[in-house]
């Protein structure tokens, strides 16, 4: 069923610009870009048991880096911006992982959650107070992204660029969580201590996933900064980090596709509610989120995906005949 959902979303995603006008394509691009940090959070919480309230730290830092490279160094080439900002996300996340995860004793979930939250909060306050970063107003008027002589402006081209980035990241995440590495993550999620007694250096696995998740946010932050044309402190905030958490809880934890469904449904419903109930739409949205998170622990995806499928299979299964021969021999 997960594969069916993935194929359906891919078809819709590819066909969307053909059926939408410019306004909706811009909105759809924002939604696609938000899927990246949501995926990163799903990798952390859904697959590795790491609670992070600081994904916006990596997203916003990369966004600010992209804005500064464009404003102060005149760099707008996608071939510079994307690798540089992804690297910023990776390095910053590795530094945090070093501090939060690789200590002498295994950290608690609460410690990591509070550590990441503090990081996002501190970065938000720093950006608001630092004149060089534009203070409360952030950095406006970022020039468009370029690829050689071509300008990548908002619209269908940027949409497909964002969709391409999402597809690549999604595919990499899918390979990762279904490999033997993913099997170890599934084991860690269920019984971390038991896994360490099998010889696995659990915190190393967590640090690797945390670092990768930071890199994904870095990529998303850079693309978002150039798409929106400005960056502001909210890009680094705890509020946005919490939003990434809600996307995944709403869509379905530990499925990857749930993160995408969560972002798309929350953003679309928010837009509809804001349009129809201009004064109290946040209350309606909050009630909806509460309802799903409290009464549908497996999220929207849990309506159609079984628990067994959610845990998935890892690596290529040996050929059926081979299994049967082995059983027979036993």
């Amino acid at each position: 069923m997960i594969l069916v959902l993935e194929m359906a979303l891919l078809t819709v995603g590819l066909a969307l610009p053909l059926a939408l006008d410019h306004f909706w394509i811009v909105l759809a691009t924002r939604i696609v870009l938000l899927c990246l940090p949501a995926l990163s959070f799903d990798l952390l919480w859904g697959y590795s048991g790491i609670m992070s309230f600081g994904q916006a730290l990596f997203y916003g830092t990369a966004g600010y880096t992209a804005a500064l490279l464009a404003r102060d160094a005149g760099l707008t080439s996608i071939f510079v911006i994307v690798p540089a900002c992804t690297l910023i996300g990776l390095v910053l996340a590795l530094a945090m992982a070093w501090f939060l995860l690789l200590g002498r004793y295994p950290p608690s979930t609460i410690f990591v959650a509070l550590g990441t939250l503090t990081g996002a909060y501190a970065a938000d306050r720093l950006a608001r107070g630092w004149y060089y970063l534009g203070g409360q107003n952030g950095i406006p008027s970022i020039p468009p992204l370029t690829a050689g002589p071509f300008t990548i402006a908002e619209g269908p081209v940027y949409y497909y660029l964002a969709l391409g980035a999402l597809l690549v990241v999604y595919a990499l995440c899918r390979v990762l969580v279904r490999s033997q590495f993913g099997l170890v993550l599934a084991g860690i999620r269920q019984h971390e201590e038991r896994i360490s007694f099998l010889g696995y250096r659990v915190q190393h696995f967590k640090a690797i996933v945390f670092t990768l998740a930071g890199g994904i946010c870095g990529l998303a932050g850079a693309l978002a900064a150039f798409h929106d044309g400005f960056v502001w402190p909210n890009m680094l905030s705890v509020l946005l980090s919490t939003q990434f958490v809600l996307y995944v809880l709403f869509g379905g934890v530990g499925t990857l596709v749930g993160a995408v469904i969560g972002v798309a449904s929350i953003e679309y419903v928010s837009f509809l509610l804001a349009d129809r109930f201009q004064t109290f739409w946040p209350i309606l949205l909050g009630l909806l989120l509460l309802f799903v998170v409290l009464f549908r622990r497996s999220g929207l995806v849990g309506l159609v995906v079984t628990e067994r499928e959610r845990f998935g299979r890892f690596g290529r299964a040996p050929a059926r005949a081979k299994v049967e021969r082995s059983h027979g021999a036993a």
């Binding site: 033997q180 290529r316 059983h327």
Partner: protein
Amino acid sequence: MALLEVSGVSKRFGELRALAGVDLRVEAGQIHGLIGPNGSGKSTLMKCIAGALAPDAGVIRFAGRNLTRAAPSERARAGLSIKFQITSVLPSLSVYDNVLLALQGRDSLVSLLRSATRRARHEAVTAALARFPLIGRADQLAGALSHGEQQWLEIAMALATEPTLLLLDEPTAGMSLEERRLTGELLAPIKTGCAILIVEHDLDFIRGVSDVLTVLDQGTVLDSGSVEAIQASSKVQEVYLTRV
């Protein structure tokens, strides 16, 4: 030199003295039974050896290496493996995946990222499952197994790491008589590959499988020796056997 040398290990939990200067030696290829009344410190000693608890004092040497402060993963990589008192299989993974996880515990990260690892380990997984009566249940979730089968699965996982010392904390707890008999038969041939340190309340079972017995009482070693010597020990009979 003994495979495992525990020297003067002590552990307190607040006012409670769980271990007080325990010495223990386990030789290679030996099944060493650890017995004692409830609260005598058997499980605490096992946890200190495996790395689940850090001793307050004393030294734990394994295969000549001082592992007193080593992380559990480092002890496992050195050749120590444990089956806990409370079964701790991974219930939402298949029986096959539980054993596979144990088998590839010392693999490099790069090989884990390559899906081919599963195929490469297939023969070893089926061999590990075939040793215990679990081969027909390879595709079932571990959580769906009976208690006795989960105990076997956990022993199979502990053995799959190819340890030189296997720590078994009450391997037959909650098993039927038939399952206990079968477990004894399954453990006997293992000692050709590795030594076993085993904690068990079932005295008939532990007498049947052990080469050497150590008796703990109130966190100290009461006596240690061959099964016959311990059975004949007046100290043990007076302090331990009469209380059980």
